[in-house]
Subunit: 210 residues, 2 copies
DNA sequence: CCAAAAGTGTTGGCTGTACACCCATGT
DNA sequence: ACATGGGTGTACAGCCAACACTTTTGG
């Protein structure tokens, strides 16, 4: 048993409906048939871990050019044998095209009140959430959760959904602007029936650490 | 090739001779026979990743109760096929008993001026060093690099060896003491031919984050 | 004119950094 | 007596958190 099955798991987060959501699928095979779990699967021959994670993410969301990072490698999720390398990804819900399978559809689930999941996948999600919260404080990862153009209020709502608590508006804007990770586009958003908002975009659409 | 060989690698750091050192071995088998590399090996049947890393660490140093953390999982170190899960460990050099094999002995090598290593192991060490430097700033990991009792000057030298730059003595002491991670033992060190130093010990001999 | 969200500054506390001298010991 | 490392305090600057009102728009 020295050569072992190697799988990748992907924790795909998005912010939607004011909350942080994670993508779950319904398993169509044993073990844990019909239980909910994270998307994942075995490596193809010759495939690297990163490639497998990108492939899985693409399968489920149709996206490839988003934040995707290795999280942790588990060897005890199925009790024995298999090694599972977990990744986590951040996607803009408005850009995703969820897979439409004959079997149970994948769907978004709020990270508050997760149901019971196969293979202790709750632990994997908890770990990913910790990492995401930490990275929010010292990197621009949120670029991958929003459309190209967005208002500072939208950005703040995204941060609040992840942090799980309200943030002070003036302090938030001061901090984001002083970090110089976003720039105004010159355009304004007329969406909503309220005062139009200045739109911004991230200077870099790839991970940057402060 | 879906089931794959799974190996663990261990980056074992210590501070000695005023510098940060890493444990290297000389390979006795192909590929890269006779090249230097990190210690590592395949998982035994039924063994978890953590268990394999602990076993490897014990093989090389005789230590088991030290800081050991998963680092990253590589799938391209040997060009193809094998998956290598890297761990990193911190040991007190005065407590280690290096393995004495018939083959080439393991030995400490300063992380400044590493030689060429098998399997791009330099990259693994660089990554581990980044992580170590980061953790030094927000955790008590240094507990695993020092004997039970130590002076604040010793602790400072340890921090300086890892950071790679001198630190201000008064600021260092203020910070460490205000973090409340160490406590005085009441004993003093008469070692050296100079003024005796107050000895301290870590309150927790396990990882704590600030 | 009302509801809803956008936008905007100041203050006080805390934290991190720079900086220099005296003391105890062994040789 | 001198060389070596141990031990100590202050002052300034930058950062973060708390806090409330005005403006613009659509309905």
């Amino acid at each position: 048993m020295t050569p072992r099955p190697v799988a990748v798991l992907v924790v795909i987060f998005t912010v939607s409906a004011g909350g942080l959501q994670v993508l779950l699928i319904r398993r169509s095979a044993e073990p844990f048939k019909d239980a909910l779990s994270l998307p994942g699967g075995l490596l193809n021959p010759g495939e690297s871990l990163q490639d497998a994670a990108v492939r899985k993410l693409d399968d489920e969301t149709g996206l490839t050019d988003v934040f995707l990072e290795q999280l942790y490698t588990f060897s005890d999720l199925d009790g024995r044998g298999a090694v599972a390398v977990a990744y986590f990804a951040l996607v803009d819900v408005s850009a995703t095209h969820l897979a439409r399978r004959r079997e149970w559809l994948p769907g978004w689930c709020p990270v508050q009140n997760l149901p019971d999941l196969a293979f202790h996948n709750e632990d994997v999600i908890d770990y990913a959430l910790q990492r995401l919260r930490a990275k929010l404080d010292y990197s621009n990862v949120a670029y991958s959760l929003l459309p190209e153009e967005f208002s500072l209020s939208q950005l703040q709502r995204t941060y609040e959904a992840i942090a799980g608590r309200p943030l002070d508006k003036r302090n938030f804007r001061k901090r984001i602007l002083s970090l110089d990770i976003v720039e105004p586009t010159g355009r304004v958003a007329s969406e909503g029936r309220h005062r139009p908002a200045q739109l911004y975009r991230f200077r870099e659409r790839k991970p940057v650490v402060f």
